[in-house]
């Protein structure tokens, strides 16, 4: 288990740890108290994964450039 708060984890981190938690739970060699703690941790990680999966919003923008090729801003792109 890492010390990183679940809320700050990327999807990948949360998934990797969830995988670990699953492995430990499925091996069944943890004490009952610890397995309950693990289960709670796993549930939090799962929730984090689900949140990150829900953030699947498409937002496409093109960068606008000035005459020298420097970026000046964003222009939404919706017709592609």
């Amino acid at each position: 288990m890492t010390d990183r708060p679940v809320d700050e984890m990327s999807f990948e981190e949360a998934m990797a740890e969830l995988e670990q938690v699953l492995g430990q739970l499925e091996r069944g060699d943890v004490a009952l108290d610890a397995s309950i703690t693990l289960y709670e941790r796993g549930a939090a990680l799962k929730a984090r994964c689900e949140t990150k999966l829900k953030e699947a919003e498409e937002k496409v923008a093109a960068i606008t450039l000035d005459g020298d090729g420097n970026p000046t801003g964003l222009k939404p792109v919706s017709d592609l």
Partner: protein
């Protein structure tokens, strides 16, 4: 003699000044040839400090000098390098100043695929030698990037393909940096875009992407050439953001593919590499929840079973206490009677003991003891007086026996005996001394008769010189002083006068 400026009648040979002819030649060349394409090998190349570019184009026999003005250089397309096989496009012109014709090259392209490939190989070798293609340089791609930066043309199929595939798999935030994907502007714009994405701030108004895709559709080698330029390769290598290159079709390989962190065969493939499939992940997460619950309940079931098994192996609690309980009962039953019996026994002993313990007994005993004490104290004083009288009698008897007269008598007798012994000792001592003296005299007389001194009385003498006894004449002659001992004393001869006596005889001798 005719002067040149004198018109020669009958002759129609045109006449020019140098400047006029230079102007005519220039006009002629520019008019006749105008815009041309010339193929040749690049010779010497000079980029002047002024910014103008001078180079030579040559073939087996001839050399054509070319120049490109500073303002035309950015539009040139390809910078000429010595040995490059190129097609230069531009306007033929002439300069009267040097009597020289030349090409004002405004576009240069690599001549033919073979030449392009040779150039590409050369660049690849150089960059590989720098280590830019090393596997350790490749950065891992993020599993699920939040923001994806796409460097490509904003129009066309490529960006559409990428966006469609991203939408199918996992919709993300996408920033498109529009660039020219062919022609001279391509390479600098692509390089600029990669650098530009890298300097953005994560989470800012223009959020820095977690992943870059540099993409272009298929085309000829010349079309894709911008992605073979060194500036593009270097920008991709320097990118801190992981970069996927997707240029051309699967069979096209450009320089950027070697330095990118991952090469995708097509733009669509790049999108597939960039993001995982959302619904697959959702399914996995869902499944993970199920697996977690299942394994927890399995573990609970297993533990319950184990507990039950263990409980079965435990003996009944009743059975554990039966034996002790029985013993307790038996002992408990015996407790009351035992107590009563114990008390009874002790009471009997007490009454036995206390039966003899009456005050009258004590009083009687005390009285008899008092009587004994009185009797003894009555006898005490007479007994003491009796003992003292007896001791006094003994003392007086002893004093009577002790008399000083007897002591004095003893002392007188002892003194008389001591005087007698002392007298005898004195007599013996005197006699012994006289005897010893007589013997000593006799021996001294004998010594006198044996001494040389008796001989001296008979007329002999002892001669000494310097303390030593002199026995020879020779010794006497060398001695400074002589001493002769007679019977009646010693006589000194010579001494201080003797050396004089020795020197006298020669003086006397000379007188005679």
């Amino acid at each position: 003699m005719d002067l040149l400026d004198d018109p020669v009648p009958g002759s129609n040979t045109p006449e020019f000044s140098v400047s006029e002819i230079a102007g005519r030649v220039k006009k002629l060349i520019e008019g006749e040839l105008g815009w041309v394409r010339i193929k040749g090998e690049v010779g010497r190349v000079v980029l002047a400090r002024s910014g103008h570019l001078y180079f030579d184009l040559k073939d087996e026999r001839n050399v054509l000098s070319c120049m490109t003005w500073k303002g035309q250089v950015p539009e040139l397309g390809t910078m000429p390098e010595e040995g490059m096989e190129v097609v230069a496009e531009g306007r033929m012109t002439a300069s009267g100043f040097q009597s020289k014709f030349s090409l004002n090259a405004q576009r240069i392209a690599i001549a033919g695929e073979g030449a392009l490939m040779a150039l590409l190989e050369k660049r690849k070798k150089a960059l590989a030698a720098e280590g830019l293609f090393d596997a350790e340089r490749k950065k891992p791609l993020p599993y699920l990037p939040e923001v994806i930066g796409v460097v490509t043309s904003p129009q066309g199929a490529v960006i559409r393909d990428i966006l469609h595939r991203l939408r199918d798999r996992f919709p993300r935030k996408v920033l498109i940096w529009p660039v020219a994907v062919q022609g001279a502007a391509c390479a600098p714009e692509v390089a600029r875009a990669i650098e530009g994405f890298n300097v953005m701030t994560p989470g800012g108004a223009m959020p820095r992407p977690d992943l870059l895709i540099v993409a272009r559709g298929g085309g000829s080698v010349e079309d894709l050439w911008g992605f073979n330029e060194e500036v593009v390769a270097r920008a991709a290598a320097a990118s801190d953001i992981p970069l996927i290159s997707a240029v051309g079709h699967e069979t096209d390989t450009t320089l950027i593919d070697f330095v990118s962190d991952q090469r995708a065969p097509t733009p669509t493939a790049a999108a597939e590499i960039a993001v995982p499939v959302r619904h697959e992940l959702a399914a996995w997460v869902e499944q993970a929840g199920g697996r977690m619950a299942a394994s927890l309940s399995t573990s609970l079931v297993r533990r319950t079973q184990r507990l039950r098994d263990l409980a079965r192996a435990l003996p009944r609690p009743d059975a554990l206490v039966e034996g002790p309980r029985q013993r307790l009962d038996v002992l408990g039953d015996r407790l009351g009677p035992a107590l009563i019996a114990g008390v009874q026994r002790r009471r009997v002993r007490l009454s036995d003991v206390s039966g003899t313990l009456r005050p009258a007994v004590l009083t009687r005993q005390m009285r008899s003891e008092q009587q004994r004490l009185n009797t003894m104290s009555d006898r005490l004083a007479p007994a003491l007086a009796r003992i003292a009288a007896r001791r006094r009698e003994q003392l007086e008897a002893r004093v009577a026996r002790f008399a000083p007269r007897l002591l004095i008598q003893d002392t007188d007798q002892a003194r008389a005996r001591f005087d007698a012994v002392r007298g005898r000792l004195q007599a013996i001592g005197t006699h012994q001394i006289e005897q010893l003296r007589a013997r000593l005299d006799a021996m001294d007389r004998l010594r006198e008769t044996l001494s040389y001194k008796a001989t001296l009385a008979r007329g002999y003498a002892v001669v000494r010189g310097g303390g030593e006894i002199v026995t020879t004449r020779a010794a006497a002659e060398t001695a400074t002083a002589l001493e002769i001992e007679f019977a009646d004393g010693r006589l000194k001869l010579g001494g201080t006068t003797q050396p004089k006596a020795k020197s006298k005889p020669p003086e006397q001798g000379s007188l005679f």
